[in-house]
């Protein structure tokens, strides 16, 4: 046996291990193979290969493991059960960067599924090791580590608190300054996921100066980065007034509005979400957004998008209008109401319709002028339709009823109210008739129109319980018309006339 032959044996063994690991990694890339691989006991075979002497094999084994864990929940649990994590974490500190990348990938894949699995990664010291990886030179390693931290932090407040406690935030903010786009994206997304849980976490992110860096990246040409940046800003500003003010003070606004014309629809959606989160806090903040023309841009955005992308825009209109009647007037002037009516007719999902109904209610409930703007867009009958429809969800019914009621109590635009006299449940009819009884005594033209359009006739046909408020309102209305007219339109008057004809004796 020569030396060469001996070496050959080893080489062959290594080659076949390598081949096995690579094939498994390739197979694991496809979700349909996972079941078979699991049944074939891939986990027990991969585990020793993780401790292989050849770094290439270790690394590919980790990659295969990561892919397996990525695809299925149970396999991630198996990874945790097999105690692979501690050794991964241990080698994360010592090995080369390729291996680090692969190991971070495994941690990410494991932590992705449930909070419990993420907790398991945390328990074996994964977070600290990942934070150490963030200090690496190689952007690939940083990216993988940031990604893994992202998946850990996104589950709940406690997990992201532990990520913050490990000192990840300053490093993530530094990652935002790196030239690599992918790293920036992941860092922004991680910051977003950290700050979404609680005001304290968002405050920590802000204290590390994230807002200024995020605000600087708004104008970057990369769409995916912009998505993450806007999502992070909105997650930060959603918690409190002071945080929202800090976002505004970072001079985000006119530039962010320009991004509403971005070709990427999720960028647009996230910009609108950011505006919604800022606007919902105080009238002053809404005023800032409205003054820099955000309202028109959002309303245009509503026209260009569809489905769930519209939802933040719709809610933003509602929030702005809810603050004060001036702002609601601004929404109306920016042609928000016809746009909402259009959305209402285009959308089919109940939660979006409910949001639209809520926004309309917020716009219309301030003054008769606002209510008139809503009524002229023919939205009252649409709201009524939604309220009456049996298939509407409970939330939608409640929202449309509330909106309808609050608008009706302000509405003095009679042509818009008249259709609501027909086929309306008595709890809505009460408000409609009440509005009529308030307006008609003071407006002679409206009285004439009320008679000629058949409103009075309809009114006489309403059967109200004596003594109820509805009956009071009807009496009020009747008292501002001559008695003959009222009698003429009362049901059964023709029989009375005929009876009189029969009794009449010509002289």
């Amino acid at each position: 046996m020569s030396q060469r032959q001996i070496i050959q044996v080893f080489e062959q063994y290594q080659k076949s291990r390598m081949q096995f690991v690579q094939t498994v990694a390739d197979l694991a890339a496809r979700p349909q193979n996972i079941e078979m691989l699991q049944n074939a006991g891939v986990m027990t075979l991969l585990r020793p290969l993780m401790l292989d002497s050849v770094p290439g094999i270790q690394q590919t084994a980790a990659l295969a493991l990561g892919r397996l864990a990525d695809h299925s929940d149970s396999l991630s649990e198996a990874v945790v059960r097999e105690d692979i994590l501690p050794q991964l974490v241990l080698s994360l500190a010592s090995q080369n960067r390729f291996y680090k990348k692969a190991a971070a990938f495994v941690l990410r894949a494991v932590a992705k599924h449930t909070p419990e699995l993420a907790q398991a990664v945390l328990a074996c010291g994964g977070v600290d090791a990942l934070v150490l990886c963030l200090e690496e030179f190689d952007p690939g390693v940083k990216e993988a580590a940031a990604w893994a931290l992202n998946y850990i932090a996104r589950h709940d407040a406690q997990l992201s608190q532990s990520v913050v406690d490990a000192g990840a935030v300053p490093l993530l903010v530094l990652c935002l300054l790196e030239p690599e786009m992918a790293l920036k994206r992941i860092a922004a997304s991680t910051l977003s996921d950290i700050s979404k849980h609680s005001p304290e976490l968002a405050q920590t992110v802000v204290d590390n100066g994230a807002i200024a860096h995020l605000a600087q990246m708004i104008l970057s040409p990369d769409a995916k980065l912009k998505r993450q940046v806007f999502s992070a800003l909105s997650q930060i500003s959603k918690h409190s007034v002071s945080l929202a003010e800090m976002v505004i003070e970072a001079e985000v606004f006119p530039a962010a509005i320009a991004c509403l014309k971005d070709p990427d629809e999720y960028v647009r959606k996230n910009v609108t979400t950011l505006m919604r989160e800022v606007v919902k806090h105080t009238p002053e903040l809404s005023q800032v957004i409205v003054n820099c023309g955000g309202m028109a841009a959002v309303i245009d955005f509503l026209g260009e998008s569809s489905g769930n992308l519209r939802l933040p825009g719709i809610m933003m209109l509602g929030y702005v209008a809810a603050h004060s009647e001036n702002l609601a007037m601004a929404v109306i002037l920016s042609k928000g109401v016809p746009q909402l009516a259009l959305c209402m007719s285009e959308e089919h999902e109940h939660h979006i319709k409910a949001a639209i109904a809520w926004s309309i209610g917020q716009i219309g409930h301030h003054s008769p002028e606002h209510a008139k703007a809503v009524a002229t867009s023919n939205l009252l009958s649409k709201l009524l339709e939604l309220y009456m429809e049996a298939s509407s969800s409970e939330d939608l019914q409640a929202k449309s009823k509330k909106a309808l009621k609050s608008i009706l109590q302000k509405c003095t635009y009679l042509p818009g109210l008249e259709p609501l006299l027909y086929d309306v449940p008595s709890n809505i009819l009460k408000h409609v008739v009440c509005q009529f009884s308030k307006v008609l005594p003071h407006d002679s033209k409206a009285r004439r129109l009320f008679v000629t359009s058949g409103g009075l006739k309809k009114l006489q046909e309403i059967e109200a319980e004596p003594g109820s408020p509805l009956q009071d309102h009807i009496n009020n209305i009747n008292s501002c018309f001559p008695e003959e007219i009222v009698r003429y339109y009362s049901p059964g008057y023709s029989e009375v006339l005929l009876e009189r004809l029969e009794r009449f004796q010509p002289a």
């Binding site: 030396q3 060469r4 070496i7 080893f10 080489e11 002497s53 050849v54 770094p55 290439g56 080369n96 960067r97 390729f98 030179f137 190689d138 300054l177 790196e178 030239p179 200024a212 860096h213 605000a215 600087q216 104008l219 970057s220 040409p221 003010e245 505004i248 003070e249 970072a250 001079e251 985000v252 606004f253 006119p254 530039a255 509005i257 320009a258 509403l260 014309k261 971005d262 070709p263 002053e284 005023q287 800032v288 409205v290 003054n291 820099c292 023309g293 309202m295 028109a296 841009a297 245009d300 001036n326 007037m329 601004a330 002037l333 920016s334």
Partner: protein
């Protein structure tokens, strides 16, 4: 004697009378005594009554005077109070009148100012129209930029293809495939082939390839947003779009083989981490300054932001400065 007798008799008579009288007096003494008592008591009662009534009269006089005095004092107080109340009412009414006027004036002027509100809303709709137009323009610009990039890419691909197909160029003697004699004019590919210069394949530096791939980047930045430039740019620039072909036959170094064990060692050895990075140390600053410049160019700041209108519009005080998108945020 007679006188004596007479006297005797007289004495007798006297004695008898004396006795009678005494007995009579004794009889009536009790009655008289009672009568005297009654008379005395009556008299004394009269006197006492007169005294008492006298005292009463005096008391009444005192009381009368005192009561009159206090009542008059109270009455004066009441009058004073009533007068005060009347005065206060009057002043309050006047104050209300003044406050009413003032408050109405103040609110109309500063809080619910109809004209300011009207102006604000008008300004807002103007601003909205402006923003809509600006955004439309911006979108147009971005779209054009993207189209340009697309065109540049297409053009580069075409030129590359022309380089590859350069051997199909027609010669004086023999028309090429693209220059069919049956066509009225040569195919556009033929024209392109004529434009493209044939270069003998040289071994290019690795930067050639990266330059080819990286071309859209710098081109996109320096784009002024107008059409027409891509053509001359791509054809006019000096770099060769030819890809680097691997050398067909690099001669293997003949010589002594290394020991298999050494080779094995080399293969097993993991790549070291070096401190050398692909990018220079100042890359970060360069990238930031480039980004800043790019920002200035792509988003003309003064147009989206019409600060004067906004400042004019915002009639309630805000602590926010109007954001100006042109300034870069300090790092």
């Amino acid at each position: 004697m007679a006188g004596l007798l007479k006297i005797k008799r007289e004495v007798e008579e006297f004695k008898k009378e004396y006795f009678d009288r005494n007995s009579q007096a004794e009889e009536s003494r009790q009655t008289e005594n009672r009568a005297a008592l009654r008379i005395q008591s009556w008299f004394r009662a009269c006197r006492a009554r007169a005294y008492l009534s006298h005292l009463h009269k005096k008391a009444i006089t005192i009381q009368k005077i005192w009561r009159g005095f206090t009542a008059r004092a109270r009455f004066r107080q009441m009058v004073k109070a009533a007068y005060l109340i009347m005065k206060m009412n009057f002043y309050e009414e006047m104050a209300v009148r003044i406050q009413r006027r003032w408050r109405g004036f103040f609110v109309r002027k500063y809080i619910h100012n109809f004209y300011a509100r009207k102006r604000y809303l008008e300004g807002l709709s103007r601003k909205n129209a402006l923003v809509r137009r600006e955004l439309g323009e911006l979108e147009e610009l971005q779209k054009r930029e993207r189209d340009c990039l697309e065109m540049v890419k297409e053009q580069t691909a075409k030129v590359y293809k022309a380089h590859r197909l350069h051997h199909l160029l027609s010669t004086k003697q023999c028309p090429g495939v693209f220059n069919s004699p049956f066509r009225p004019a040569p195919h556009e590919m033929e024209l392109l082939l004529r434009q493209v210069k044939y270069q003998t394949p040289t071994r290019l530096a690795p930067s050639g390839k990266s330059c080819l791939l990286g071309m859209p980047g710098p081109a996109a930045q320096s784009y002024p947003g107008t059409l027409g430039s891509p053509l001359n740019k791509t054809t006019g620039t000096g770099f060769s779009p030819r890809p680097v072909l691997p050398p067909i036959a690099t001669k293997k170094q003949q010589g002594l083989f290394r020991e298999p064990g050494e080779v094995w060692e080399q293969r097993v050895r993991c790549p070291d981490l070096t401190l050398r990075l692909q990018t220079s140390y100042t890359h970060l600053e360069e990238a930031q300054s480039q980004l800043r410049q790019h920002k200035f160019m792509t988003l003309p700041s003064g147009r989206i932001e019409t600060g004067s209108i906004i400042r004019h519009l915002s009639h309630n005080s805000k602590s926010f400065t109007q954001p100006a998108c042109g300034n870069s945020v300090s790092l």
